[in-house]
Structures are given as structure tokens and as C-alpha cells.
């Protein structure tokens, strides 16, 4: 079980968290300005790297904050917890 470094509660068991997938995927300022292809990409296409990436976690059993971490998807090494959400 991974330890997720919650910026507010400290490292906590993985099952205290919800998972949010790729981090920093901003909701479009004006969704209606996007064509179907671009909107489809926003809805469904996310990075899926074998290696480092930034992902979101939600501390549902703790402080109930969303935050992002950099994790290696093979080793599960977690580098940084980035308090700023999205």
C-alpha cells in the first residue's frame, strides 16, 4: 500500500484517498469554443506514461483536499507533493 504524502496530513495510506488521474488538466474557459474533436480530447484523452507523471489525489478520509504529486508509474516512487490543486 502506497503512502501518499498529503501536504496537510502527512504521508497516509493510499486507501484514505480518492484518485484523480492526470493533474493540471484545466477545464476549458469556454467549452463551447472547442470543436467536438477538442472537446472529446478534454473529456477522454489523458496521458498514460510509463514513468514519471503528475497525478491528483483527494484525501477523502482526511482533510478532504485535492492535491497533486509526481509519481513514477513503474516504481511508485513519489517525489513531490504539490499543494496547489488542479
Amino acid at each position: 500500500m502506497m503512502l501518499i504524502p498529503c501536504p496537510w496530513c502527512g504521508p497516509s495510506d493510499e486507501n484514505e484517498f480518492g484518485y484523480g488521474g492526470q493533474a493540471h488538466v484545466a477545464y476549458p474557459d469556454n467549452p463551447h469554443a472547442l470543436d467536438d474533436e477538442a472537446w472529446g480530447r478534454f473529456l477522454f484523452v489523458r496521458e498514460n506514461p510509463r514513468g514519471w507523471w503528475q497525478e491528483r489525489w483527494f484525501h477523502s478520509a482526511g482533510c478532504r483536499r485535492w492535491f497533486a504529486v509526481a509519481r513514477h508509474t513503474v516504481t511508485n516512487e513519489i517525489r513531490a507533493a504539490l499543494p496547489e490543486p488542479t
Binding site: 496537510w8 497516509s12 495510506d13 484514505e16 484525501h59 478520509a61 482526511g62 482533510c63 478532504r64 483536499r65
Partner: protein, 214 residues
């Protein structure tokens, strides 16, 4: 308020012996969740770190405690008979826009630490621009684990490191399969707060975990 009409989720259930370990509901503990949008830099009267708690004094004689559950998120709890806590604390939000001195007065009453000199007026107002104060007295049920073996019981159902749960600190996490808030009330007493609908589960889980220590 007609308190005699109330019924607590566990009807005051108790188990065991405090000489080793006892598990008992503490019914009808008043509680308010506070949310603040403003900066708490000057929040001398509120704990700022998650897991930190402060004992409070109030106009009444009751012991109160404010726990920091998350960024800009606090839980104020008190003793079962502290019937004015909810009104006093929820009043904070209604009074935010009121003149500074009124706010200060209220803030002092509700959130001034026991042995702390009241902070200057301007600090306090800067500290307390609450956005929300919600009565959650019945939202959670308090089950106390009392006695020297309290940690032995909890380590079967609480994955977090109990060594960090020092007196006057709190922690949220999973108690078995239910979300819970633990408050280390005293050396040999921990208050477990769970959602009321999970109270029967939590009580059964704790008494089961305590079997070998009774």
C-alpha cells in the same frame, strides 16, 4: 430545547473496564464545523496545522475544543451539557459583517484558548472571516476508548501511527472501513468520532478488537 426527547445512536452503550480498557459512547456531544475563507495568518486563537487542537474557554464553564481537520476547516466540540455551544459558534458567521468589537467579543468567548491572553482586536478579526458554520452535533457519534490499553485496541483497526497521536492532537483516517476522527483527549482516553450511521459498526468493531484486553 427539549433534550429529553433525544436519542443517541448507541443509547449510551458501554463495554469493558477502564482499569484495562473501556469503550463507551459519549452521547449528545455538541459540534460545529467551521470553514474560513480568509487568511488565518493572525489566527492566534485557532490551530492552523491539521491535527492540532486547542482547548477553549467560554462564557460557560464547559471545556470546549477546536480541532483543525483541514486547511480552513475546524471542528468545535464540547461537553454533552454544553447546550449553548452550537448557537454561540454558529453565531460567528452571522456576525462576521458586524462591527469589529462585537466579532472580537464573540471570538473571545468561543475560541480563546484557556491560558492565552486575548490577541489584539485587529488580529482576531483578520483571523476569523468564517464563511460557514454548520451544526453537526448529530452528524458524528463520539465513542471513547478509556484505559491504559487504549492503544492496544486501536492498533488492530487504525492503520496510522498511534505514537504521533499525542495528548491534545487529533487525526482523521479509516477505522476499519469507516471514516473516523480520533481526538487524544487525555493520556489514557481517546475520543473516536464516526458518522452516526456508522456508530453501531464502529462500536462492534472496537469491542471486537478489545476482546483480548478486557
Amino acid at each position: 430545547m427539549t433534550v429529553e426527547l433525544r436519542r443517541s445512536p448507541l443509547a449510551g452503550a458501554a463495554w469493558g473496564d477502564a482499569a484495562t480498557v473501556a469503550i463507551a459512547e459519549v452521547p449528545f456531544t455538541p459540534a460545529v464545523e467551521l470553514r474560513g475563507h480568509g487568511s488565518l495568518q493572525a489566527g492566534a486563537h485557532l490551530p492552523e496545522d491539521v491535527g492540532e487542537t486547542r482547548r477553549l474557554r467560554s462564557r460557560s464553564t464547559f471545556a470546549r475544543r477546536v480541532c483543525c481537520l483541514g486547511p480552513q476547516w475546524w471542528l468545535v466540540t464540547g461537553e454533552p451539557d454544553d447546550l449553548t455551544l452550537v448557537d454561540e459558534v454558529t453565531a460567528l458567521v452571522d456576525e462576521v459583517t458586524a462591527p469589529v468589537d462585537e466579532v472580537t467579543a464573540l471570538v473571545d468567548e468561543v475560541t480563546a484558548p484557556v491560558d492565552e491572553v486575548t490577541a489584539p482586536v485587529d488580529e482576531v478579526t483578520a483571523a476569523v472571516t468564517f464563511g460557514s458554520a454548520v451544526d453537526v452535533s448529530a452528524q458524528r457519534t463520539r465513542i471513547d476508548i478509556i484505559g491504559p490499553r487504549w492503544a492496544d485496541v486501536l492498533r488492530h483497526v487504525w492503520p496510522r501511527d498511534l505514537a504521533t497521536l499525542t495528548v491534545d492532537t487529533c487525526a482523521q483516517g479509516l477505522l476499519g472501513r469507516a471514516q473516523a476522527l480520533l481526538i487524544r483527549e487525555a493520556d489514557d482516553r481517546v475520543a473516536v468520532h464516526v458518522r452516526a450511521s456508522f456508530a453501531r459498526y464502529a462500536y462492534a468493531l472496537l469491542t471486537d478488537a478489545a476482546t483480548e484486553y478486557a
